[in-house]
């Protein structure tokens, strides 16, 4: 028990790092006056992996598997950000098939990430069966990942200069199945949650933040759009051909937990629209750009052509060397603006790689959201930010 300046007696409570509702190893130090939160301090660093520092000692193409491990619920987005940053530095133009495949897969990633969010968030607020339903639908997307890239979560599918392999044969069928199944299931979710008295009671008016505050705190992603600020990197700075697709950016009004929920549910629908457009317009063509020395040559060429063999050996053993300079590339990951700053000193390893993680910046607003509220609302607030601690700590 501490005594504050006003003479009130408060208590320090550690929430986490092993608390199931903190979505990982987040520790929040709460100073409580009864049930009211007086002060909140998020403590992070329990999942620090040193990815940024590690990248300085690795050849460029070996960094891609590490980026998967940051936001492990959206591996394709992480790969895309890194690959786009380097392609910008190298000045590579992607063939249309690569662009469409990348957009399709990252939008599937967004759906998968939001499904996990809606499941775990509803579980935190007492709706147990939502978790099971959301994970069942996510399984369809994860199956596509496995068929496409070979891994369920750590896909490592995008390469600098294209894709690792071509899309599999039954890819169309599987994506069409998703386009058919998920909209129906979304109706189920909305029936369960949208008008549910308990869910509404625990989310409406909870953890509010105004649009101005959200901008001042540097928030991005659904939490910013839930406050009514229209900022989406896909629209503001289109990358990877997003300007060719037709979709809306859903906005909230009140900036509370319920609005963020609505924004994310609408984003799933908009992502499905993009997936449909990408699937219908999927062009034929090469899945990698023609850039010897940066992209691995095909296996048949390596065995029959001398130049290909030399490029293959050089790329594997020494990597490639981008020109001197620095580059920043931001993408709209499911959590917000994910930016990669890569500074190259003309050698085959990055001089510095800095990741602008959406989760870390969004988490910094947590004290603002919960101070003055109740302990029970802390769970709703943490859930509504949608953090992944792997990305917060990196």
């Amino acid at each position: 028990m501490n005594e504050t300046a006003t003479g009130k007696r408060t208590m320090i409570l550690n929430m986490g790092p092993q608390h199931p509702a903190t979505h990982g190893v987040l520790r929040v130090q709460l100073e409580l006056d009864g049930e009211t939160v007086v002060k909140a301090t998020p403590v992070i660093g329990y999942l620090h992996t040193g990815i940024e520092k590690n990248a300085e000692a690795k050849l460029y193409y070996k960094v891609i598997p590490m980026t998967d491990r940051m936001d492990y619920l959206a591996p394709m987005s992480n790969n895309l950000g890194f690959c786009l940053a380097l392609e910008k530095l190298l000045g590579l133009e992607m063939p249309p098939k690569v662009i469409y495949a990348r957009v399709l897969l990252t939008e599937l990633t967004r759906i998968a990430s939001h499904l996990v969010w809606v499941g775990t968030h509803a579980l935190d607020l007492g709706a147990m069966s939502m978790l099971l339903y959301a994970f069942r639908e996510r399984e369809l997307i994860i199956d596509i990942y496995e068929a496409v890239s070979g891994q369920r979560m750590m896909s490592t599918y995008f390469r600098i200069g294209g894709l690792a392999y071509d899309l599999p044969e039954d890819f169309d069928k599987k994506v069409k199945n998703i386009l058919k199944v998920i909209p129906e299931r979304l109706k189920d979710y909305e029936r369960l949650l949208n008008d549910n008295k308990i869910f509404r009671g625990r989310t409406i008016g909870v953890a509010k933040i105004s649009g101005d505050d959200a901008v001042n705190c540097g928030l991005t992603g659904p939490i910013l759009r839930g406050s009514g600020v229209n900022y989406d990197v896909r629209k503001a700075n289109p990358y990877c051909g997003y300007d060719q697709f037709d979709f809306n950016v859903p906005l909230g009004k009140n900036g509370d937990v319920y609005d963020r929920y609505l924004v994310r549910m609408e984003e799933i629908k908009q992502s499905l629209r993009i997936v449909q457009q990408a699937l219908e317009g999927m062009p034929e063509g090469p899945y990698q750009v023609h850039a010897p020395g940066i992209v691995l040559p095909p296996k048949e060429d390596v065995l029959s052509k001398m130049e290909s063999l030399i490029f293959h050996f050089k790329l594997i053993t020494q990597g490639f060397t981008p020109p001197r300079g620095a580059v920043y590339q931001a993408i709209e990951s499911p959590k917000g603006e994910l930016g990669y700053y890569i500074s190259s000193d003309g050698t085959n390893k990055p001089h510095r790689m800095r990741v602008r993680p959406p989760c870390f910046v969004n988490l910094s607003v947590l004290p603002k959201l919960i101070e003055g509220g109740l302990v029970a609302d802390v769970i709703a607030a943490i859930g509504s930010i949608d953090i992944v601690l792997g990305e917060v700590d990196r």
Binding site: A57, K58, L59, Y61, K62, I64, P65, M66, L90, G91, L92, S129, R136, D143, E146, A147, V148, S149, G150, Q151, M154, T156, A164, Y165, P168, D188, R191, L192, D195, N196, K197, I198, H290, A291, P292, G293, I294, L296, K299, E300, D301, V302, L303, S304, K305, E307, L309, F311, H312, F313, K314, I316, T317, Q318, F320, T321, P322, P323
Partner: protein
Amino acid sequence: MKKVYSGIKNLIIGLFTTGKHLGRHAITVQYPTERWPMPERSRGIVVLLSDKETGELNCTTCLLCMRACPTAAIRIDYDKDEKGKRILKDFVVDQGICCFCGLCEEACNFAALKMATKYEFATYKSEDLIWHTDKLQEIGRDVPYEKPERKKPEAKPAAPKPAPAPNPLPAPEEKPETKDGSKPEVNDAN
């Protein structure tokens, strides 16, 4: 009273939605006896592949997989014969370090190693996860694979390559070969 009524309505809607799932079959499987079929590309443990006819390993000890591995999970010991050709002594994969990224498989030109669709390799000790040539070869025997074929050279040499790379490689000096073949090379290309 109105509150009670709407609460009951919510309850009925919720139970109706969840109740729809009562009649359907289970979507889970009883794991040790039943399994999901794995996709063809699924990346499981690293195995060594052998020639189907002779039973010899496909590995030519070019060390590319070792250099491509981002976590240095692969170690290759080799000797050199009098002509200077490398002879494989031991191929070691630490399955505990492996991050299943598949870069080694991409680097290999001879279909010598593959990430098979197998995933059960739990042991009681972490040392047991370090697999040597025999075990890797044994497990890889029934793994299907396609050996890349060497294309027949065309009658006329191909035209010069169109569109050179926007950023052609500079020519860094070649790495000197290790002089004494018996010493295992460390994975320095990380």
